[in-house]
């Protein structure tokens, strides 16, 4: 209690969710590395040298920067990536492809990502434009880009560029993501499934009820129902009804997106208002949300938003994203506190993000030696750069994005390496891996080598200004020059957010010299040596973790 009182006494504006328990087994990371974590999570880039210096001088600056990051325009893109990990819409293939829409193979990747990003962009827009989170299921608009505006029935702002607020023009109800093509193209259905998969997705994504994850024992379910058709059993067997009493009525509400023919672009681009009532007959279930009748999709959105689990699920979803782990029963008090503050704050996402980044779970850099084993196993105190963040970090540092044939190589699995780098493809891999793997190491190594090459070519060979990474050395600066050592120290600080020790500098210098000599100590060997040093730093464990 004394500790708690002391915490309250010292904190100028205590957040209700930052009450660390006595003898917290979580050890906060240092302020500079915390700044780096915040910058990567909220902006997708490394902190600038100025930001690092400021926080090094005054640790309290980290929260000020955090608040700035929450207002940074790059947050929207980061949220798209974070939501994608759980919404699973950034898949590499839909039931239709780019050729169905008068586009070429060069548009294939952009087509796939545009479709998949549509619901995520709406989520991110609501999150970053001071809109109540409930708007994700009640909005009378979506967020679309030029490509989608060309293939879907959308009113896209004249003169607009990129992702813009847009409206469907095919009489679909105002229901936010529930009325987005992108969501239902990802979560397709078929004549046997009849929207049940879609209903399960809605439950998982919006109220964190994961019906398919519930254990099922067919042996138990069979008793007394031999010879009864599956269609009848799911409406009569109490064991089945435990899920299907909720699944079918929600599935019934989604028939405006029912396609008579699968894989038909003609059918899939538009909402079919005339089919809204078909679900009741097809599923023998009137549209409802957990027992409450709903009068269409718009009404469904209101019911979802009013469900007490909706706001809690938002807190849980974002905690999963930022703590980089699933939430567990022990987290419930924290989740409830986060949710309470979120609701009190008008369900504005920045409130939730601010509170989440205040939590011990977010700020932990280690666990204590005597931490319970469950805590040690659960908490992710060292996070690995995933493919999305590595791509934006490298692009910010070098201006280079690894692309092949129009495909972002860290953002797809048809030709690229997203899953190999612990990413989520949304079909086979549904949560980001948190441990380094052989393939993760291979991809990060190749990315580091290419990034280093590009930076050195830019800075030393072409001498283009402004420089990217090598700020002071030239192609003729010898290793013995103080400028050389200063450059190494600055790189270490910029890329790793830790001041280089003498040993660090010595190791980097030795690497540079070894590479220089191995290349024959020629004039051009400087380029080889710097490329090697930069590549080493860009695959340093402290660069690739945060």
């Amino acid at each position: 209690m004394i500790v708690l009182l002391a915490l309250f006494a010292c904190a100028p504006a205590p957040s209700p969710v930052v009450v660390a328990p006595v003898a917290d087994p979580l050890v906060p990371m240092d302020d500079v590395r915390l700044l780096r974590r915040l910058s990567l999570d909220l902006r997708g880039v490394l902190p600038s040298v100025e930001e690092l210096d400021a926080v090094e001088a005054d640790g309290a600056q980290v929260d000020i920067y955090r608040d700035q990051f929450l207002a940074d325009p790059r947050l929207e893109g980061r949220l798209v990536a974070l939501f994608a990990e759980q919404w699973h819409t950034l898949v590499d293939a839909f039931d239709v492809d780019v050729y169905d829409f008068d586009l070429t193979g060069e548009d294939a990747y952009r087509f796939q990502r545009s479709v998949g990003e549509e619901p995520l962009r709406l989520l991110a827009y609501v999150a970053t434009h001071d809109r109540p989170w409930s708007e994700i299921v009640t909005a009378d608009y979506t967020v679309a880009n030029e490509l989608l505006a060309g293939v879907w029935p959308l009113a896209y702002p004249e003169g607009g560029e990129g992702w813009e607020v847009s409206t469907y023009t095919d009489d679909r109800p105002a229901a936010g993501v529930l009325a987005s093509n992108g969501l239902w193209w990802r979560y397709s259905t078929n004549p046997f499934n009849q929207n049940r998969t879609r209903a399960a997705a809605v439950f998982r994504l919006l109220v964190c009820e994961d019906f398919p994850a519930r254990p099922v024992s067919f042996a138990t379910a069979t008793e007394g129902f031999e010879g009864v058709s599956s269609a009848d059993r799911i409406q009569s067997d109490p064991y089945c009804l435990a899920c299907h009493a909720s699944i079918e009525p929600l599935a019934s509400a989604l028939f405006g997106f029912w396609w008579f023919r699968q894989n038909s672009p003609t059918e899939m681009v538009t909402y079919h208002a005339e089919r809204e009532m078909l679900g009741a007959d097809a599923l023998n279930a009137e549209p409802a949300w957990f027992g409450e009748p709903v009068a269409g999709l718009e009404d469904l959105g209101r019911h979802v938003a009013a469900d007490g689990r909706f706001s809690e699920c938002a807190a849980r979803t974002m905690a999963t994203a930022l703590w980089r782990r699933d939430t567990v029963l022990e987290d419930q008090p924290r989740i409830e506190a986060l949710e309470s503050a979120f609701v009190d704050g008008g369900m504005r996402m920045p409130v939730l993000l601010r509170d989440l980044t205040d939590t011990p779970e977010y700020r932990a850099g280690a666990v204590t030696d005597d931490a319970p084993e469950a805590v040690s196993a659960r908490e992710v105190t060292v996070r690995l750069l995933g493919p999305e963040v590595l791509a934006t970090v490298v692009e910010d540092l070098t201006g280079w994005r690894w692309e092949h044939g129009g495909y972002d190589q860290l953002g797809n699995d048809l030709f690229g390496y997203r899953m190999l780098m612990n990413g989520v493809d949304g079909v086979y891999i549904t949560r980001p891996a948190q441990d380094p793997t052989l393939t993760w190491a291979l991809v990060t190594a190749r990315t580091a080598e290419a990034s280093a090459y590009i930076a050195v070519q830019h800075d030393l060979v072409q001498g283009t200004s402004p420089r990217l990474l090598l700020q002071t050395v030239t192609a003729t600066t010898p290793a013995s020059d103080p400028v050389f050592q200063d450059e190494l120290a600055a790189l270490h600080w910029r890329l790793l957010a830790r001041r280089a020790t003498a040993d660090d500098l010595a190791a980097l210098t030795e690497l540079w010299s070894t590479l220089y000599e191995a290349d024959g100590s020629r004039e051009t060997s400087v380029i080889v040596a710097w490329t090697g040093v930069l590549a080493a730093l860009l695959q340093h464990p402290e660069f690739l973790s945060y």
Binding site: E135, D140, S166, D170, P265, T266, A273, R275, D299, R302
Partner: protein
Amino acid sequence: MSPSCRAALASFGLLSAGCAGSDRADGDSAAAPGEDDVDQLAPFVAEPVWSADEMTAEAERLVALGFPDPNVPFDAYKALFAYRDDTCPNAGDQLVGQEMPEGGCLAASGAHFEGNTVIIETNIVEGADAIRGFQFGGDFLISDPSGAWLAGGGGMRFQTVRSNNGDVIWSGEAAGTWIDTRRDDWLGLGFSSTFTFGGASTADGRTLTMNGTVGVDGVYVQFVDVAWADACGGYPTGHLRIRDPSGVWADLDFADRCDGCGTLTHDTLDDATEACVDLSPFTSALAALEAG
């Protein structure tokens, strides 16, 4: 318009011209989403856009656009094949997408073919009985040399069975999304449905039935066991549902009144109201299909 114009579906007729929300088709509201910041958690209460008279008028407008006769798109499809050449699209009268280049093929005539279709035609004579009909389905788009096009995603079916005793039974289905830009009727405006129909002409008289949904030009209706029998003087029984632009459906119950009128109910109507609707353009067309 590009000959390969599936993207044009997005901005065409049915797909863009609804009644509800048409005031935001210019994108004005896109500039300020949720500007009024309404209480997002308030219970949904539908505010009807149409009066009962307007609902029936809209239903009559829809049926005046023409009966969704499966023969119409099937004939249009066959006519467009006159523009084919030896290699495009491919052999026969069906489209086999796997045998065409990505994005379809361009015939020497300037017509463009893309997609897949399946056609099964039936012409069976057993004794004195005859069964004739077709099934036509797939997902395709064919544009003629002028750039006008026919697109379909779904299935069309029609069949007549004639017995030697003079009985005739006919039935069909129009399902999916279909558009023919060369027309200005139901098919020209763009058509979305899951609609089945049938007729029987026997010594006991004639019966017509319709079931399923139809959406054309921003009007959406559902026929629920709607039937016309001689016993009811040619007036309908069953239910006709009409979607108000608010998104709530009204139900017109013809019951057994046999006068073309029924009881209209709507979630937001305090009292049921009487409404009449003239569906004769549909019934006339359906009756005419007896001739095959």
